[in-house]
């Protein structure tokens, strides 16, 4: 289904993504991990054609999507939804409109500029929002929502695209642990229930372990690990994140911590 | 009356020529006055003739060459502000110019009577020869102009009136000329001549249908409050200019002229009256 072949991207002499190749057959949940600057975002952006590749091919069902231009490129983008760390919604527009933006490529440009959408589209947007549990927020402006809600709107937009692949670039990095869990659960459900492929950049190991079918580890633009979550030992993690980096996984964890024992103890002492 | 000695002398020059040209053509004149009076003399050339008028009314300008209508305006505002002393005498000995009514040759209009019921263009409401005098004269002979002509319009200026009639926007119109020389040249000077020389209209296509009485050339005025001695000196110097410095006189007079001759307020009674009439008419 997806075959990445020797893809490279060079930024001013340095390769941000360096000759990577892998293939995914079915609608898997693929996690990409790696430390900051490893090239995760660059790879996803190339897949969505927001950034051009310097070399290589990405074949989806045999077609090299890196070679698409103009209309074809936009058509591909509409089949391959992207979810951003900062949500990238239009803050001053309402939630439903933001979801409807997923259809921009498929509806006449002029009509969309005047915000004219067929009734059926609006209803479908509402349905999707309902499925993600935020239908009541529909008439509000996107900027009025909490981070987790905004990310779910972004996912709704992605679903509106009815995409074959969903790309998610650190979808939970700016969310609190509670919202992070909701968002990741939602992505997993879409992956399982709808059978869409999801490729997510994740910056924490525990999330990758919990949600992914397959984990790809990147370092300095190269793939240094490719396997199942179970294969992801601490040694491998050290490799991915670099051993010099005094490694403390907890510091980056987004799991909701157990009640802060120390704080509670301190308070108890004071109140005695 | 209160004749204090003066510390400077300011000369205002009205439009009609490029500001810089006016400056240059009057430089010799300025120097001559400076030599005669022994005080610094400055020349001012505001674009809008109201600038000169305000300067004379406010007493910051001591002397100026004005149009007849401009003089009338000052006189009506403050009769004590300025007095006319000299005016320009043309080569034929006349001291004035004319408002000329005209139409397209192919329109069949050959006299002002033929223009009855047609559209008629004046230059602009504040122009002496483009509205004030012809308006008053025509109204005198033909009655209310709005009734006599089909339509009375302001073209916006002499230029626009001529071009407008030549283009057929108006059936007839009025503009000014010195009345000397030939019609086909656009006379020796005036708005027709300028338009013809610039290639904007073809004089062959136009005919003259009416001519006003002589409109007096504007006067050279002096501020009344100036010391008599200063007034005399400047007047004398200017009156003799054609005899003493021909080239300089050419510049001051905007071209060929015979002489500068004395003039009094009486010469402008007609224009003053026309202005008063317009004032109450509106």
């Amino acid at each position: 289904m997806l075959a990445v072949q020797n893809v490279t991207r060079v930024f001013s002499g340095r390769a941000a993504v360096d000759d990577i190749s892998f293939a995914v057959d079915g609608p898997a949940f693929v996690g990409i991990i790696g430390r900051s600057g490893a090239g995760k975002s660059t790879f996803l952006r190339m897949m969505n054609r927001l950034t051009d590749a310097s070399a290589g091919r990405i074949c989806v069902d045999g077609r090299d999507i890196l070679a698409l231009r103009g209309r074809d490129r936009r058509a591909w983008q509409s089949q391959c939804a992207m979810i951003f760390q900062q949500f990238n919604l239009v803050p001053r527009m309402d939630v439903v409109s933001n979801v409807l933006h997923g259809l921009l490529n498929r509806r006449p440009a002029l009509a969309t500029l005047f915000n004219l959408w067929p009734r059926a589209d609006i209803l479908r947007a509402l349905e999707i929002l309902d499925r993600l549990g935020i239908a009541e927020q529909a008439p509000k402006r996107a900027e009025a929502l909490s981070g987790g809600q905004q990310q779910r709107v972004a996912i709704a937009r992605a679903l509106m695209q009815d995409p074959r692949i969903i790309l998610a670039d650190e979808p939970i990095a700016s969310l609190d642990p509670m919202n992070a869990q909701i968002v990741m659960d939602t992505l997993k459900r879409i992956n399982v229930e709808d059978g869409r492929m999801v490729i997510a950049n994740l910056h924490t190991l525990d999330t990758a372990r919990r949600y992914c079918d397959r984990v790809i580890g990147m370092r300095d633009g190269r793939i240094v690990f490719d396997g199942t979550p179970a294969q992801l030992s601490t040694g491998v993690a050290r490799d991915i994140y670099g051993a010099d980096h005094s490694f403390n996984e907890a510091a980056t964890s987004t799991a909701i911590p157990a009640d802060a024992i120390a704080d509670a103890a301190y308070a108890a002492r004071l109140m005695a | 009356a209160s004749a204090q000695p003066i510390t400077g002398f300011n000369l205002g020059i009205m439009g009609g020529e490029n500001a810089q040209d006016r400056m240059t053509s009057n430089e010799c004149y300025r120097a001559a006055i400076e030599a005669q009076l022994g005080v610094p003399v400055k020349v001012f050339t505001p674009a809008d003739y109201d600038g000169v008028i305000q300067g004379l009314l406010g007493g910051t300008l001591d002397m100026a060459w004005l149009g007849a209508s401009g003089y009338a305006k000052i006189h009506l505002t403050d009769p004590e502000a300025v007095e006319p002393v000299l005016t320009k005498q043309n080569m034929d000995g006349s001291t004035g110019y004319y408002a000329i009514g005209f139409a397209r040759k192919d329109s069949g209009i050959a006299s002002i009577e033929d223009a009855r019921g047609k559209s008629f263009a004046f230059a602009e409401p504040n122009s002496t020869s483009g509205y004030l005098v012809p308006g008053a004269e025509l109204a005198e002979t033909h009655g209310k102009l709005e009734d006599f002509f089909g339509q009375v319009r302001f073209a916006g200026g002499h230029e626009q009136a001529i071009i407008g009639v030549a283009n057929g926007d108006f059936d007839a119109g009025v503009s000014w000329a010195d009345g000397l020389g030939d019609w086909e040249d656009g006379y020796n000077s005036g708005a027709f001549r300028k338009a013809a020389d610039a290639g904007l209209v073809e004089m062959n296509d136009l005919v003259e249908i009416w001519k006003s009485k002589l409109i007096p050339e504007g006067p050279m005025v002096l501020r009344k409050a100036l010391p008599q001695e200063v007034k005399d000196k400047v007047t004398q110097l200017t009156a003799d200019l054609h005899e003493t410095d021909k080239d300089c006189a050419y510049g001051v007079a905007h071209g060929e002229a015979m002489d500068f001759v004395p003039v009094t307020h009486d010469a402008y009674l007609g224009v003053v009256a026309a202005r008063k009439l317009q004032e109450t008419a509106q």
Binding site: W117, L123, A138 | G15, Q20, F44, A47, I163
Partner: protein, 440 residues
């Protein structure tokens, strides 16, 4: 999960919202279009299209980059005059006529190029138009006799008193009193040196050579200085006067803007809600600002002209007055938006009112005020052009005069270029100053 759980009420609200928005999406552009249509009617756009004479425009505007040489013979005296734009100061000396005019006794042969040749002689004048034939005009019995291939084309306009011919090569007009040929040539004539300067007759390399090692043409001056003088005092273009006029314009803008800023600073304090305890005075000042601004600089110019007469000071004062109104309002608004914490910090040390203003307020508002003042400096340079036209000073006077007298369109073009350059220069200067002062 399916639509079943979706509350129908919610769907309704959303759908009606979209319907309303759709309406607005059409209504706004439609309203704009309707207004523009109304305006087009009110402005009589249709009539205008008929009135606009593009050919006249072409005649006028071609003067922007062309000059014409008048070759005139007075039919009564027989005197020949060759003058650029027909002006006295552009008249060629009889012994140095341009190469395309040849005189031989009474006869003058004018080569207009492309085979067009005009000849004046004792009998009258002839114009040879290639591809058409010979136009021959002779004065006879007080009228003109025209011989030309029939039928006459519409570019020949003839009566028995005047014949005029207009061709792409030039214009020709014959009346009883004179015969005149106009040749149009591209370029601004005599831009560097006029005909009375020896340098006019040199090519660029010759000028360079003459400047560096040529023999002195004017014994009193080195050639370079003579060139500079001839250029500076060029009677056609008057570069010296023009530069001076530009300086005067900038001077008016400078004095007016900074004068207004100085006057508005204390007034702004007095009109700011947080600085002025007396509400009545504040209210009064604000209305004064409104009045001054509302009247507009142009009217102030006229009012001031009575008191101060024409001249640059009157223009500067008019700008000063108008901008005091604008600055007063803007400054007082800026002062109302300050951060009170800094003032309080200064106040807590026992500082007096003036010291509080100096240290608590001024440092905060300087960047805002300064950038407003500099922005006005730039736009006042443009404004001073207009005001100058009325008070009789600066480049604006030259420009409006050149337009009103209509014959010096190349001057208009020259002044326009200079004004654009001047405003751009002021723009970048004030931008530079703003960056320096605000960062610094």
């Amino acid at each position: 999960m399916t639509a079943a759980t979706l509350s129908p009420a919610l769907a309704d609200t959303v759908l009606t919202r979209f319907a309303r928005r759709r309406l607005a999406a059409f209504a706004v552009p439609l309203a704009i279009l309707a207004y523009l249509a109304y305006a087009a009617m009110a402005f009589d756009l249709a009539g205008l299209a008929g009135r606009a004479r593009m050919d006249n425009a072409a005649v006028l505007l071609s003067d922007f980059w062309q000059h014409k040489t008048h070759v005139t013979r007075d039919n009564r005296s027989g005197a020949l005059r060759v003058a650029i734009d027909g002006e006295a100061k552009g008249t060629y000396p009889p012994d140095r006529l341009p190469g395309w005019i040849a005189t031989q006794g009474d006869a003058t042969r004018i080569d207009l190029g492309q085979g067009h040749v005009v000849t004046y002689d004792a009998q009258g004048a002839r114009y040879e138009v290639p591809g058409y034939g010979l136009i021959d005009i002779r004065p006879q019995d007080g009228g003109l006799h025209l011989t030309a291939p029939q039928p006459l084309p519409d570019w020949i306009n003839a009566s028995d008193s005047r014949v005029s011919v207009t061709t792409p090569a030039g214009r020709f007009a014959y009346t009883r009193s004179k015969v005149e040929t106009f040749r149009y040539q591209p370029g601004w004539a005599l831009f560097f040196f006029t005909l009375d300067s020896p340098f006019h007759y040199m090519s660029w390399p010759e000028i360079a050579a003459s400047a560096l090692w040529g023999p002195r043409l004017d014994s009193g001056l080195p050639n370079v200085a003579a060139m500079a003088r001839d250029f500076w005092t060029n009677a056609m273009w008057r570069h010296g006067d023009v530069i001076w006029a530009m300086f005067e314009t900038v001077l008016m803008a400078f004095l007016g803007t900074f004068g207004a800023a100085l006057a508005a600073l204390p007034l702004g304090f007095m009109a700011a809600r947080n600085m002025m305890p007396f509400g009545a005075l504040r209210f009064g000042l604000r209305r004064v600002f409104d009045f001054i601004r509302g009247v507009d600089g142009l009217i102030w110019t006229i009012v001031l002209a009575r008191a101060f007469g024409p001249g640059p000071m009157t223009g500067a004062l008019a700008i000063l007055l108008t901008d005091t109104g604008s600055f007063g309002k803007m400054f007082s608004e800026a002062l109302e938006n300050i951060d009170e914490k800094q003032v309080e910090g200064i106040r807590s040390t026992g500082a007096g009112a003036v010291q509080r203003a100096r240290f608590g307020v001024i440092p905060q508002v300087t960047p805002v005020l300064l950038s407003q003042v500099l922005y006005f400096l730039e736009s006042n340079t443009r404004g001073a052009t207009v005001i100058g036209a009325i008070v009789g000073g600066g480049i604006g006077l030259l420009l409006t005069q050149a337009i009103q007298t209509q014959k010096d369109w190349e001057d208009v073009a020259y002044y326009m270029v200079l004004i654009v350059l001047m405003v751009m220069a002021m723009d970048s200067f004030s931008g530079w100053l703003r960056r320096r002062l605000i960062k610094g």
